[in-house]
């Protein structure tokens, strides 16, 4: 499974054997059981994770209620960011939704790698930019799209989530109540083409 990590990098840019070995040697792999909480709201978020296998759900508590703000699955990054070198308290929880294997990113180790192989710094910049672009897309969708459209785009971009995540958590991720989600699903199931057409 560790190879998956190296393969992921090779898909971005062809790597030399030295680079591949350096990545494989420095990576830290951790396994968590389903239900494990790996970060609590209010705690400092120091670690960056790459999901090798499994599913991690990000949520915050609002008036005692869980609101799902992200769902990370295979090949996705959970990037801890620290402004001016200081870690800020996390705005959310991270909980393993399935048995999950991750690579833990370590900024110091990364710096050592970058000093030796500057190209890896470029790759890491591209990864962060991609993560940013995805996050921006999600955020924009909230301002631009109706819940029904968000449901349809999620179905298209991440169909596996619908098998892996309970409906009520998906509902909160899309930003509606579970009842509204089930109305949306009913409405869509009556439209055989399942696309939104303007009258």
């Amino acid at each position: 499974m560790e190879n998956k990590f190296v393969n992921y990098f090779s898909r971005i840019t062809a790597l030399s054997i030295q680079e591949t070995n350096a990545i494989a040697e420095s990576m830290i792999v951790k396994k968590f059981n389903s239900g494990a909480i790996i970060l609590k709201q209010g705690e400092p978020a120091n670690d960056t994770y790459f999901v090798l296998e499994g599913c991690i759900r990000q949520y915050c508590l609002v008036a005692g209620e869980e609101r799902t703000t992200n769902i990370y699955t295979e090949d996705q990054w959970i990037i801890a960011f620290n402004e001016t070198g200081e870690t800020t308290p996390s705005s959310h929880f991270l909980i393993c939704h399935e048995d999950t294997t991750v690579v833990v990113g370590d900024e110091q180790k990364a710096q050592v790698l970058f000093a030796q192989f500057p190209r890896l710094e470029t790759i890491s910049r591209l990864i962060v930019e991609k993560a940013f672009s995805e996050q921006k897309k999600n955020t924009d969708a909230y301002l631009i799209e109706k819940p029904e459209q968000r449901y349809l785009s999620l179905q298209k971009s991440r169909p596996d989530l619908f098998q892996r995540i309970p409906q009520y958590q998906l509902a909160s991720f899309i930003g509606v109540s579970p009842e509204s989600l089930s109305r949306i699903r009913n409405r869509l199931s009556k439209k055989p083409s399942a696309t939104i057409k303007k009258p």
Binding site: N70, F81, T122, V128, K130, T139, D140, Y142
Partner: protein
């Protein structure tokens, strides 16, 4: 405006004064009048901007209505990442809301700069990481808060926007109608006077 650029670059301790002046020579700074359209929906873009002075608004048109998705002000990067990385037609417009002084770049120039000044790449990554963190927090805040809370947190985090941006655009950025925003403002002003 060169000075703004030098001031900005000098904030990074990893860059020497010599690096700063060399980098500044290689960077394109453009001045745009208020109203200048930097990106149109439908364009396939490779251009990105960094605001030295001024304000850029990003919006898209949904059913004939403008929905604002971002306001970029001093020291913020306005990069239509999705259009650039996926090379798909942009959904967004980007327009100068004030007279602007901007760094203009594209992935090719950017790559050349990193070759010449490898330290810049680390700075960029750190900047994008910060942007990512802020966007993540903004997203969480958006799904978990009411419009009134969003208005208050905007008041705290970016008080200048409330002066610089028309109400109607601010309303769509918070995700409410202009009428609701004006009700929110009224309610809050009553609270503070009590």
């Amino acid at each position: 405006m060169e000075n703004e650029l030098i001031k900005f670059l000098s904030k990074y301790p990893s860059l020497s004064a010599e690096d700063v002046s060399e980098i500044a020579k290689n960077i394109t700074v453009i001045n745009c009048k208020k109203g200048t359209v930097l990106l149109k929906a439908g364009d396939i873009s490779v251009e990105c901007y960094f605001v030295l002075k001024g304000c850029i608004r990003a919006y898209c048109i949904v059913d004939g209505e403008e929905k604002t998705t971002a306001f970029y002000t001093e020291n913020q990067a306005a990069v239509p990442f999705t259009a650039i990385t996926e090379q798909t037609p942009s959904k967004l417009f980007m327009v100068c809301l004030e007279d602007c002084s901007l760094i203009k770049g594209n992935p090719e120039d950017e790559g050349n700069m990193y070759q010449q000044f490898p330290k810049l790449e680390a700075i960029t990554r750190a900047m994008v990481e910060q942007d990512l963190g802020k966007t993540q927090d903004a997203f969480s805040a958006f799904i978990t808060s009411t419009a009134e809370q969003r208005y208050i947190s905007l008041q705290e985090s970016r008080p200048d926007l409330l002066q610089r941006v028309p109400q109607i655009q601010l309303a769509s950025y918070i995700g409410v109608t202009p009428e609701s925003l004006s009700r929110i403002r009224k309610r809050l002003s009553l609270k503070t006077t009590c």
